[in-house]
Symmetry: C2
Subunit: 343 residues, 2 copies
């Protein structure tokens, strides 16, 4: 039997939906999360795809995330919207605000969507790409449970605190930048640990602040921010935008995204959308293509997101997933998470 199974986007989405529903998630919430899981697999981001889904299911089953939460949208001002995720999944909460955000951004030229009391949102690129697909420039931040030590410190304090940026392109898929404030995302360390692989230099320090290549020691220690104090500065900025301004837990107060302890993490997301037509007129797209074209004059140059678009193209006929991963999710789809209370 093959170690690889090939599935369509729709099959992955359906399977993920089933596994979530079986793990105590409402159909509507399951659907929003499952779509992002299928998109991650399609875009070659397996690390936040099907292999990550059991964590979502376990967290719904143990109550770390409320699978039946109904996010509530409020209007704070002419240009600011807020969604309270109610300790539910981030995906349906963001989905609820995304369409109103596009309308307000077109009216005001700039607008913000604050999502508070929320949970891990997976790939930020997924959301900014949707806004860029609507013709808007989008900036998004999310905070997370602690994994980066402050500059000069040893103990995790900020989350990997990613920043994403989406820009519409004429007749092409949007340009998407999506990067954590740490050298790598925490899921990459967990992935190395699960595979028994050593970490490259410069990824992490152990609990004593000493650089380490050992994934287990890194999980006890801290991830390193990109560029030393500069990555720390970014993580701090992201925490203030994504948690401070969304009335959510700071990273240092958030329970772990990785286990069932400590109740809901109550982290947050902030999305700012700008209308490039208002700012820069109708020739924004043509000017952007001039710049991106010039950047790529050297064939070796890669734009952010290039690998994602290549994976997406490759996966048009089917998405290959390790059979063991599919089987695990199929078991969740049949039986629900093992963390569900016994009947």
């Amino acid at each position: 039997m093959s170690d690889i199974r090939t599935l369509t986007f729709d099959e992955i989405e359906a399977l993920a939906t089933k596994a979530l529903i079986a793990s105590n998630v409402s159909a509507q919430n399951a659907s929003a999360v499952a779509r992002s899981i299928a998109a991650a697999e399609r875009d070659g981001q397996a690390i936040v795809g099907l292999s990550y889904l059991p964590t979502y299911c376990d967290h719904a089953a143990c109550g770390k995330v409320d699978g039946h939460a109904r996010p509530r949208l409020e209007t704070l001002s002419a240009a600011v919207l807020r969604v309270d995720a109610g300790t539910g999944f981030a995906h349906p909460a963001i989905a609820l605000g995304l369409h109103p955000l596009t309308e307000v951004a077109r009216q005001c030229g700039i607008a913000a969507l604050s999502v508070g009391n929320s949970y891990a949102c997976g790939s930020l690129g997924y959301f900014v790409e949707e806004l860029a697909g609507q013709g808007l420039v989008a900036l998004m931040t999310a905070n997370a449970s602690p994994s980066i030590a402050p500059f000069g410190g040893k103990t995790p304090f900020f989350g990997t605190n990613p920043l994403a940026f989406g820009v519409p392109r004429e007749g092409r898929e949007p340009l998407v930048v999506d990067q954590s404030s740490s050298v790598v995302a925490k899921v990459a360390v967990i992935d190395a640990y699960n595979r028994g692989a050593a970490l490259p230099d410069g990824w992490a320090i152990d609990a004593n602040g000493v650089p380490t290549n050992d994934a287990a020691a890194a999980m006890e220690g801290s991830l390193l921010p990109i560029g030393g104090y500069k990555g720390f500065g970014l993580a701090l900025m992201v925490d203030i935008l994504a948690a401070g301004l969304t009335r959510s837990h700071w990273s240092f107060e958030a329970s772990s995204f990785g286990d069932c302890e400590g109740g809901p993490p109550r982290t947050g997301q902030m999305i700012i959308a700008l209308d490039p037509k208002l700012f820069a007129g109708a020739d924004f797209s043509a000017r952007l293509e001039e710049m991106l074209g010039a950047a790529q004059e050297t064939p070796a140059v890669r734009l952010p997101g290039d690998r994602r678009l290549e994976a997406r193209k490759k996966h048009r006929e089917g998405i290959s997933v390790p059979a063991a991963v599919v089987e695990t999710v199929e078991r969740y789809a049949r039986e629900g998470s093992p963390k569900l209370p016994k009947q």
Copy 2:
């Protein structure tokens, strides 16, 4: 005779104003630039202080920047303002928009100030700190003449493209993050070159893309972005916000900030201001202090901007500047820039 001269903030401001006016800058424009020069010296950022002023004067004298430009403010929408700097200095252009921006941000909760057709603005922290002093959270980007190669490339394409972030603090000076997308700002390489000092590892590559410690070779080559492709992603984001959305030259189109060739660089700045009271309610400040206090539990931890605040404190009684630097500026104040056309 001492190698050091000690001046007050006001003396530096007055001297810088005189040197600019003598170099073909209007009194009003000179005053806005001179204030930022004095603030840089006060804050221990000598690299964009008096020693940088002769470049401003030379550029006004040779026409790279129009010292008599009168920036124009327009309202693009309920939440978006634009200033056309008219190839004049960035400081008076930003100053013109800053107060209206605070009003619009308080009305709408979020607002943007686009400054186009502009010039180098020195320290971004200077401007976001002013907004934070008005109770707003501020995010600012600026693009610059090329110094960073694209990821995979060898030739400078993006500017050092800094990003700054200012946050109000209750009863204290604002929190300010201000950092370039490159490992160091270009002025630091020029400074090393002028001092005949070797560059540390990891700052730059030469014209062939090979890592170098030679400041002269680095000036022919490229600065390295922070965290490899992540700094490149940031520089790209900054270029789109600060140039693309402000109808300015992309970094790759901008003439050098370092010499008199190629006419005005026509770069841009983008400032986004958010009202934390609207987003997060009255307890935003108290919550922020909880987080910043927790971050500093380890005595070795330094927050971004700490060094600036220490320098500011130290300089309350007087600011020490190398005598040679003061003498050069005094010569400019007497005679104007040597680049002025002969009478």
